[in-house]
């Protein structure tokens, strides 16, 4: 049961209306912020009426979700990119944690308006941030599995508990809402905490 009618892009049209909305939103949200941007602003930008926007998105938040989702995907990509050539699972973990914090901090300082969307999305439990957290957990799981496979990590603790615990430790630095309060530690914390976590994983 799809509630949103999906107008199909016709013929050679390079980008359909939905994409235009997202594009306009990306610019406006980033420049003026989510709150200060009105749906009418976006409509005006793409030359349609406000009502037409609602044929594509059920709510303003749904547009925010897309932008937020893209932002978080970019962070995930950067994290994955920083991890690929790590020689060991331990090193993969260190780089992953460091990259996650570095990328989020970077967003905070370079594109504050987008960061704020991610932050309030986290506090309101938007789907985009739930997905982000799931992805982070997947990455943790992969690293643990790899480390257990190579004998680098212990295998006694139930893997779910291990992943969960590590996720909890990282949370204050990967969750945009919480990272704000911990920016002063963004330099040292990933290193110190990675060490603690890796000690806990020792066979």
């Amino acid at each position: 049961m799809i509630k949103k009618p999906q107008p199909i892009p016709r013929g050679p049209s390079e980008h359909n209306v939905r994409d235009q909305i997202v594009e306009a939103a990306a610019e406006y949200f980033s420049r003026y912020g989510y709150e200060k941007t009105t749906v009418s602003d976006l409509a005006k930008e793409i030359g349609f009426s406000k009502a037409y926007i609602y044929k594509f998105f059920a709510t303003k938040q749904a547009i925010g979700e897309v932008i937020c989702s893209n932002t978080l995907s970019a962070i995930l990509n950067a994290i994955n990119k920083g991890m690929v050539d790590a020689p060991t699972a331990s090193e993969r973990f260190r780089r992953m944690f460091k990259a996650a914090v570095a990328e989020s901090s970077n967003l905070f300082f370079q594109d504050r308006k987008l960061y704020d969307i991610a932050s309030s999305a986290a506090s309101e439990q938007w789907q985009s941030t739930v997905n982000y957290q799931i992805e982070i957990k997947k990455i943790i799981l992969q690293i643990i599995l790899e480390g257990r496979d190579t004998g680098e990590f212990e295998r006694k603790t139930p893997i779910d508990e291990t992943v969960n615990a590590i996720y909890l430790v990282m949370q204050p630095y990967t969750n945009p809402l919480l990272l704000q309060h911990n920016l002063n530690l963004a330099e040292q914390a990933p290193m110190i905490l990675s060490s603690l976590i890796l000690r806990s994983l020792a066979p």
Copy 2:
């Protein structure tokens, strides 16, 4: 150089004015909250003028600091009480972490107005919360030292780093400002994280 003139309690007077102010503040802050309580309210309560309050406290916040300090001291006492009869350092640690979270959560649900003071005190870095954090670190240090002494914990990692890392892990649950966002995890997190920390401490 004491800036605040300290009127000396005369003769058999059981409690001096300063104590009366604190007493009134404890009641008002707890009932109406820090913001909603005015200095005039406190003055009226003890039967003096507002100006006289300022002979004893430089600012309203200074009164808040005393109340907050008392609140946090009570939590620290409860933590220590819960720890005393633990048979091992590991068990001491588990109980300490659990009690810290339990006590803070309890404050949140039982005396929300006081909790809010502690919370904003943490966000504004009042001295009372800085002291609280120092005390928590001292407790962690003591447990680690004890565990290292009995051979229960490893001794390779620099003790400062160990204490710091553990402190960072506990932070989201001991800091009132952060605990608010993590109340849903207040049940499980201390257990899971204690286990992780103790694994990291294994010799």
